[in-house]
């Protein structure tokens, strides 16, 4: 973990209430896709945890949804303004068990971490299939960016207004070696049930500190109590205990 000041380069809307933020600063503590940063905002007491979408040199990309006062304030910030970030938080995805044909499943704003993960897997010579799930067509984002990386992207929408009608699990391919997913908990439960291989799931929880000190985001797993912020947010399918 590091505390550093980042300077905003660009902030642009991607879809309804979804914003892509690009900023540069010291990214050296960010070591794995699936990690997150914790952003301090003027006038807000707690930081806002946001997952890393991509890192390239000193450039950090974050994608977030405007859900309340904090994210609305962040969306109003302009290029040149600075952000106080804690970086390199959380464990991130472990790429080693991916096998020959991994599938990535992203739901809504669970999509962003799939970008860097896909890039890393493709760099290791693995074909990457991605299934993205949204409610409606106007929520869809990052399909072109993911395709430009060389990933095979399937889009699902609940109302059928774009791509396959249904949930992210309806876009799951027949065969795959391993899965990686990030999204809201009901989706994670569905993915857990629908997948036949092992895999890794990234969880969300209300956090206090984001670096393991306050025990605000603990969960029970089959391998003991874990802090979503420090021992997670990524858990292995085999260790998940749904009845918490």
């Amino acid at each position: 973990m590091k505390q550093s000041i980042f300077t905003i380069e660009r902030s642009r809307p991607l879809a309804r209430d979804v914003v892509e933020l690009r900023a540069h600063g010291d990214t050296s503590a960010i070591t794995a896709p699936g990690q997150f940063v914790n952003i301090r905002l003027t006038g807000k007491f707690l930081r806002r945890p946001i997952s890393v979408c991509n890192v390239a040199g000193d450039e950090l990309t974050l994608i977030y949804k405007i859900v309340g006062g904090g994210t609305r304030q962040l969306a109003a910030m302009r290029p040149g303004q600075t952000l106080d970030l804690l970086t390199g938080l959380g464990n991130g995805y472990d790429l080693s068990p991916a096998g020959d044909s991994p599938v990535l499943l992203g739901g809504g704003v669970g999509t962003p971490p799939m970008f860097w993960l896909a890039r890393e897997l493709l760099a290791r010579g693995k074909p990457v299939r991605i299934v993205l799930g949204f409610n409606t067509a106007d929520e869809v984002f990052y399909v072109d960016e993911l395709r430009a990386l060389g990933a095979d992207v399937t889009v699902t929408t609940v109302d059928g207004s774009r791509g396959v009608k249904g949930f992210v699990t309806d876009g799951l391919p027949q065969d795959y070696s391993y899965f990686y997913t990030c999204g809201p908990e009901p989706m994670l439960r569905a993915v857990f049930r629908a997948t036949k291989t092992s895999g890794q799931l990234s969880f969300e929880e209300r956090m206090g500190c984001g670096f393991g000190a306050c025990m605000g985001c603990s969960c029970k797993t089959l391998t003991g109590y874990k802090r979503i912020c420090k021992d997670g947010p990524v858990l292995r399918k085999e260790e998940i205990a749904w009845e918490r």
């Binding site: 505390q3 707690l46 930081r47 670096f211 000190a213």
Partner: protein
């Protein structure tokens, strides 16, 4: 003796800055970031007789200038704290530790305190009779002077190290509880624990916190904590540790003027992991600005308005 040093119940502290229990874990997360030996000491995560998972999540809510938590004393239990946490801490922290203890019965408190008292690394026992987030324990001892007396008396009977009673602000008159603890033999009083609070999510219309209520802390509570430290310091003879909303060197000095011998820093650690280090480093300059030669000389030094 340095200009920052204070004596807390017979043990010299290099400076009065102490991370508060529950905001600093067992120290390692912070030891990864800076040398935590720059602190006076720190108060470890509240330890109970048995392992505890704590409350269901969500356990955290944000407020203006503060936060609510309902962690519920998650900890590995005293035996594992002694077997695992203390040996690990020994590698990165070389000062006497303040061991924070909670319980659900008088016997629980005595049992856990006795075990921790035997540990060489432990300097003080901070007995938490004020946790608002557990049922049938914690705060119920700290809101009744007789129960507070019983706990402290039982702990004192089985320990040798200084015992500091950590008090709840959720009472009508905190000095009554403080005096009961002093009568029972407490060597010091720390206050305040969190204020019982609540938030409701407008979208779901449910409380933000799964446990409905939780403990409110952060800069918003500082004036309440300061007032109670002031009242308590005038009511008891034993040293008082000021806790509640402290986030700057100025806050530390203000607490000490109100009567605190040492000062704990809580919620600030969670938003700025370097908060305590920054406070320690800012103290000399801040003291100079207010013509303070030695911190120990200002304890309880608040002046009164002249009555006209």
């Amino acid at each position: 003796m340095g200009a920052l040093s204070v004596n807390l119940c017979g043990i010299e502290l290099d400076n009065p800055v102490i991370p508060a229990s529950g905001t600093f874990g067992y120290g390692y997360e912070f030891a990864e970031l800076y040398d935590i030996n720059c602190l006076g000491t720190f108060s470890c995560k509240g330890t109970t007789r048995q392992e505890r998972f704590g409350n269901p999540t969500p356990r955290i809510a944000e407020c203006s200038a503060g936060m609510i938590n309902a962690v519920g004393l998650q900890n590995p239990g005293v035996d594992r704290v002694i077997a695992e946490e203390l040996p690990r801490l020994k590698k990165c922290f070389h000062k006497p530790l303040m061991a924070n203890v909670s319980g659900f019965s008088v016997e629980d408190y005595a049992y856990t305190c006795q075990k921790l008292d035997e540990q060489e690394q432990v300097g003080w026992l901070e007995v938490n009779i004020s946790c608002p987030n557990v049922h049938g324990g914690g705060m119920s001892f700290g809101t009744d002077p007789r129960a507070a007396y019983e706990v402290i008396k039982a702990v004192k009977a089985v320990t040798r190290k200084p015992v500091i009673a950590k008090l709840s602000p959720n009472v009508t008159d905190i000095t009554v509880i403080a005096k009961a603890c002093e009568d029972a033999g407490a060597d010091g009083i720390s206050l305040i624990n969190t204020l019982l609070g609540m938030r409701i999510d407008l979208r779901t219309r449910k409380p933000v916190i799964a446990n409905t209520m939780g403990g409110f802390s952060g800069p918003a509570v500082f004036p309440v904590a300061l007032r109670m430290v002031y009242q308590t310091a005038r009511a008891v003879k034993v040293p008082v540790v000021g806790v509640g909303g402290v986030s700057t060197a100025e806050d530390v000095i203000e607490m000490m003027l109100a009567g605190a011998t040492a000062v704990e820093v809580g919620a600030a650690n969670l938003v700025d992991p370097f908060a305590c280090k920054k406070i320690v480093e800012a103290l000399p300059e801040t003291m100079a600005r207010y013509q303070i030669a030695a911190l120990r000389e200002i304890i309880g030094g608040v002046k009164q308005w002249e009555k006209t």
